[in-house]
């Protein structure tokens, strides 16, 4: 990874506050959230639905542009403040340096284009690739993600693939430009249990093959235990507890964490 990581953390979030304004009233969604991520780290962000996990992810991607939403605090990526970055500069970052994969791979691909076309598109937007170069790279990526017969799969439409394959393609697309940070918003929730395990396996491998850090957002403590180095427990918009996954599981400090742990089926 780059040398920056020694001086700055890769991603450093300080006092992030997000609130929605509705009928003159400001409703806080995320309050004073702070955390940082090192290179090649898998950080878990856990919490029940409505605790502000996905909103945080969207804010990090700079994808919140609805009127009536205020975001304050600071988000530094490789030492550079990215909150409030001009749209054009943020766009260059998005997809190339910070990429994201979504919960439901069924609806996350545009239905009228082939999988390959959509991965090509991302490659060509961020690199000076010819159509052919892009497709070659796409096929490589798909193969790397364990997609069988990648050349053929690239020519298929999203609805023609199974959920697991779609999610692999999604990851391939997110990784196409070798981002430093990959935000995965509930990447396995919509999948079967066996497929879930395969995808998690793949994500663990990614940090060695692609050198990406992963921010894994989930409500499933089992997923966290299997995958994450460190874990952040979110409770109604605030960080309830933070620590290495091992510590957290061994000695939960916050009653909410304990309750979450207790909810894992044995």
């Amino acid at each position: 990874m780059s040398t920056d990581t020694h001086s700055h953390p890769l991603l450093d979030v300080r006092d992030l506050c997000i609130s929605f304004t509705s009928r003159g009233q400001s409703i806080p969604i995320v309050e004073n959230m702070s955390f940082s991520m090192a290179g090649r780290e898998i950080l878990g962000l856990v919490g029940e639905s409505g605790s502000g996990k996905s909103v945080t992810a969207m804010a990090l991607m700079g994808l919140i542009d609805a009127p009536g939403v205020t975001i304050t605090g600071s988000v530094r990526f490789k030492g550079q403040e990215i909150l409030g970055l001009p749209a054009r500069e943020f766009r260059a970052l998005r997809g190339r340096e910070i990429a994201m994969i979504f919960q439901d791979p069924m609806t996350a691909f545009t239905p009228v284009y082939t999988i390959g076309w959509q991965i090509d598109e991302q490659l060509r937007v961020h690199n000076k690739f010819s159509r052919k170069q892009a497709r070659t790279r796409t096929i490589e990526l798909l193969a790397e993600m364990g997609v069988p017969d990648p050349a053929n799969t690239a020519n298929r439409y999203p609805h023609q693939l199974s959920g697991g394959l779609r999610q692999r393609a999604m990851i391939a697309m997110a990784l196409s430009c070798n981002p430093s940070v990959l935000i995965a918003d509930e990447p396995t929730t919509a999948l079967d249990v066996t497929v879930q395990a395969q995808i998690l396996d793949l994500m663990r491998k990614l940090r060695t093959t692609h050198g990406s850090s992963i921010l894994l957002i989930t409500h499933d403590m089992g997923v966290v235990a299997e995958t994450c180095d460190r874990t952040l427990v979110l409770y109604s918009g605030r960080v309830a507890e933070e620590g290495t996954t091992q510590d957290l599981f061994a000695h939960p400090q916050h009653p909410y964490t304990a309750a979450l742990l207790a909810s894992i089926p044995p």
Binding site: L63, R91, T107, A108, T110, P111, V112, Q122, Q160
Partner: protein, 324 residues
Amino acid sequence: MILPLLRRMGQTVFVLFGISALVFAVFFATPGADPTARIAGRNAAPQTMEKVRKEYGFDRPLPVQYAIMMKKLFITRDLASYANRGELVVPEIMRAAPVTLSLVTGAAIIWVVLSIGMGVLAAACKGSWIDRLLMMVGLIGISIPVFWLGQVVNLITQNRYHDTWLFSWVPGLGYVPFTQSPLAWFRALVIPWCVLAVMFVGIYSRILRADLVATMGEDFMRTARAKGLSPSRVLLRHGLRTALITFVSLFGMDFAQLVGGGALLTEVVFGLPGVGRLTYQALNSLDLPLIMATVMYSAVFVVLANAVVDAAYLFLDPRVRDVH
């Protein structure tokens, strides 16, 4: 891919039969009136009545009458008008068809281009005054009856202000074939095109805006933005392309409806001798065979066009392709 197409063709044939039966029933099986008198026209002589009755088999059962009618319309094509001294009806329609086609095609190009522009702009500026203004304009366009607008435009361009520099180029009402003079053809049609397009611009821009706004909330639009694409690329390549599926299927139906008689009012107002105006003239002279023939041919055209639209749909939306 082949099977759904075949099934669609089967349906088309069925609907064609149904329509011909329906039109036949409307003209010849309405209760309480003698179809002979209708065909023969006003105050026909008894000999003519007798001839008509023989020719169309009105003394025979309904299915036979239906068969005779279909044969005269589509096979021998010798259906003749009584109100108009035995003029053959089918060739008359064939002569009028290019006029209607010119009118509708031109209008369609205008309304597609304008409504896509307006719809996309309104959706991109959702909630702003531009959005509200465009949608208001669209609503006004929808509410104006085309024959009123046409007459007002005629009043202005042909009459009141014809001699000013602005409208002196406007030719008198009527049609010039393209083959005769492309420029004159264009000048004769450009105003009718715009007038006919007004309502559709309104409808289509509003529909497209609604579709686009709905599409913006979809997950794949979020993915597209997360990929780092520019807003215009997200809106056009991903949003518009998806919303166009509905747009195109609607367009096909409306285009077919217009060619199949929907442009009648525009043709009448602007004196364009198309199929619609032919129907109108037949209405005034109560020329039943001619009306029936235009209705029947129009309906056939509409059905065939709808079949084409459905086939286009198969190409446009990969999801539909695999459903069957």
